[in-house]
């Protein structure tokens, strides 16, 4: 039966992760390892690693599910998750690498020379990380239930435990090649079944959509969703601007030897993500034709191979997709957990290895608790909310910090507090209090369209009102951020604190 194949796939992926984690101890996880790696890792490997860490449950399962449920409007989600890297490339990538910052709080400290801003950035990193981790654990539960019939909490607990043990032992993270391999595994696990599905669909006589679906579902802004135009634009804003503020993405840029390589890596990331995101739409559309009434649309990627191909081949393809899904949970969760644990350990606890271990447990337990207790939203929606928080807090901080000399610590704090606070409030209201309806519902479910402008405005206005608090070293910091590394100029002596 398919259960056996599914379980085998999960066990293999989990076992591989644990083994790599166990052997990774010797490879350690200090920042200097990244320096060492940076000399040997090419942009393609680096970009694969970024892709491997970035493509989460939301990309692997969630997008296809949302497309199946809501149609063409949801095509914007993968577009934004890819296009976000274009914005990141032109506004952030090279200066951020040149800043030498290892985390977002590092950047805040380096640029604004203020520990208060650093601490606020740390809190936001933790919140965004938790918000991103929660749906990963929920999806793991969903997948395991679909494949084996186990209770929903089992999958989440399994992934959380593996990730916590891995992170505490220091494996997984610094191994660029493992994360790079994850990208190619996920691409294969989605692409190979897609080819078989399309063949089965052709053999079936290429059935089309029902007349009703063709007139509403397949067309953008045509469904019965309220405030579709607002939601679409808000989604676009959140995804395009939120990518640069994700904690686990930024750390990977450190593995680039210099700003120029950071740019080239981002270019490759765009190509890799573009290739991957061609696939979810195929699953979404085939799902609409064959399984329109699926009760949990997030499982469409897992359901289709069995439904369309069937037999032994269908079972094997389902196992492959399951393996890909677990690879997605594990790689994204590991990356996020390390980022969150690093920040908790260093900025909130005392620092050092023991704090890091406590922090790793904290980083995993809170989202696991949320995943079990919170109402279960579609995975891609919750991840979308994490993007909205990042877009309304770190995006203004990074963009203004890199390009505008007059940003002050007071302005940055006010902007982070207002933008991040409003976005977090909207998220809380949506997850804990929802579902809301009408205009309030739309504003809360897709907050970016109003929180991002508010955050930018507050940051700029408060900075202009506090000209005395422009950091004294801003001129030197600008030299560091913008001059190519080939030039021999004084870039200041700031260094990130080592974990």
């Amino acid at each position: 039966m398919s259960t056996a194949y599914g379980v085998t796939a999960v066990v293999l992926v989990v076992l591989a992760a644990v083994l790599i984690g166990a052997f990774g101890i010797r490879l350690s996880r200090t920042t200097s390892d990244f320096y060492v790696a940076s000399r040997t890792v090419s942009p393609l490997w680096n970009a694969s690693a970024i892709g491997g860490e970035y493509l989460s449950a939301a990309s692997f399962l969630g997008i296809a599910g949302l497309i199946l449920a809501y149609g063409a409007d949801m095509l914007w989600l993968p577009v934004g998750w890819t296009g976000g890297y274009l914005v990141l490339l032109v506004l952030v990538s090279a200066p951020l690498r040149r800043s030498g910052a290892y985390t977002l709080p590092d950047f805040a400290e380096a640029r604004l020379e203020s520990m208060a801003v650093r601490r606020m950035a740390s809190v936001l990193v933790v919140l965004i990380g938790w918000l991103y981790l929660m749906p990963q654990f929920q999806s793991a539960g969903l997948v395991l239930r679909t494949v084996t019939g186990a209770p929903v909490w089992v999958g989440g607990l399994l992934v959380a435990a593996v990730v916590a043990v891995n992170v505490m032992s220091g494996g997984m993270r610094s191994i660029t090649f493992v994360q790079a391999f994850q990208y190619w595994l996920k691409l294969t696990a989605l692409a190979v079944p897609a080819v078989f599905l399309l063949m089965a669909w052709r053999a079936d006589g290429s059935p089309g959509l029902s007349a009703h679906d063709a007139a509403t579902w397949a067309l953008p802004l045509a469904g019965d969703r309220e405030y579709g135009v607002y939601s679409t634009y808000s989604l676009i804003l959140a995804t395009f601007l939120g990518t640069m503020g994700l904690p686990h993405v930024l750390v990977r840029f450190y593995t680039n030897p210099d700003g120029r390589a950071a740019r080239r890596t981002t270019l490759v990331v765009l190509s890799l993500l573009g290739a991957f995101y061609l696939l979810p739409a195929v699953y979404g559309a085939l799902g609409r034709i064959y399984t329109p009434g699926l009760d949990r649309s997030d499982t469409v990627v897992l359901t289709l191979p069995g439904r369309l191909v069937g037999g032994m081949a269908g079972d094997l393809l389902t196992a492959l997709v399951t393996a890909g899904a677990f690879a997605a949970f594990l790689s994204t969760s590991s990356g996020l957990t390390v980022s969150v644990a690093g920040v908790i350990g260093q900025d909130i606890l005392k620092g050092g290895v023991r704090s890091f271990r406590t922090a790793a447990v904290l980083a995993v337990i809170v989202p696991l608790g949320l995943a079990v207790s919170a109402r279960s939203l579609p995975v891609a929606d919750v991840v979308g909310l994490a993007f909205a928080v990042a877009a309304s807090s770190f995006c203004p901080l990074l963009v203004l910090g890199i390009w505008w000399r007059r940003l002050t610590s007071a302005g940055a704090m006010a902007g982070l507090l207002t933008g991040g606070g409003l976005a977090c409030g909207a998220v809380l209201a949506t997850i804990a209090g929802g579902p809301h309806t009408g205009l309030t519902g739309a504003l809360l479910a897709q907050p970016a369209a109003w929180t991002v402008p508010v955050s930018f405005t507050v940051m700029v206005v408060v900075s202009l009102l506090t000209p005395g608090r422009i950091p004294p070293g801003v001129a030197r910091t600008m030299v560091r951020l913008h001059t190519p590394e080939t030039l021999n100029v004084n870039r200041g002596d700031w260094r990130p604190r080592h974990t």
Binding site: L86, V90, A94, L270, A281, T483, P484, N490
Partner: protein, 141 residues
């Protein structure tokens, strides 16, 4: 910015050449003993944060920012314009490209290579800007 500076320098040289009356002179020896123009690279102006160094830095940041803003504007027009286009011209939604509805062909396919192309053009231009800046800074004044 830098182009203007180059032109000003070239024009200065030309007027000097034009203004000087041709004089006959016997060259006896090269000016080996005369004081040479001191070597004072722009990178030192930047290090010492002189006003000239600031001008150089600002010109670099402005050039790169304009490029970034240009890319973001084009991106904003494309990405922000598409929903509006589909909303205002409903016939476009029904149009088919190789049998696929146009919105799907664009959003689930064509837009990705367009992103990569845009990114590639940006990287090329940004690196060119940096090379230009490096040439300026490393050249002795």
């Amino acid at each position: 910015m830098s182009r203007e500076r180059d032109r000003a320098r070239r024009e200065g040289e030309r007027t000097r050449r034009d203004g000087e009356r041709p004089r006959r002179e016997v060259v006896t020896s090269p000016r080996t003993t005369a004081a040479r123009h001191p070597r004072y690279p722009v990178s030192r102006e930047i290090d010492e944060q002189t006003r000239l160094g600031e001008v150089y830095m600002r010109s670099l940041i402005r050039t790169q920012f304009r490029l970034a803003l240009f890319v973001c504007t084009v991106l904003g027009c494309v990405v922000g314009g598409l929903p509006l286009l589909f909303l205002l011209v409903p016939e476009l939604r029904e149009t088919r490209l190789l049998g696929i509805p146009l919105p799907w062909a664009v959003l689930a396919g064509l837009i990705y290579p367009a992103f990569v192309l845009g990114a590639w053009l940006y990287v090329r231009q940004a690196e060119r800007n940096e090379r230009h800046f490096a040439d300026l800074v490393e050249r002795d004044r």
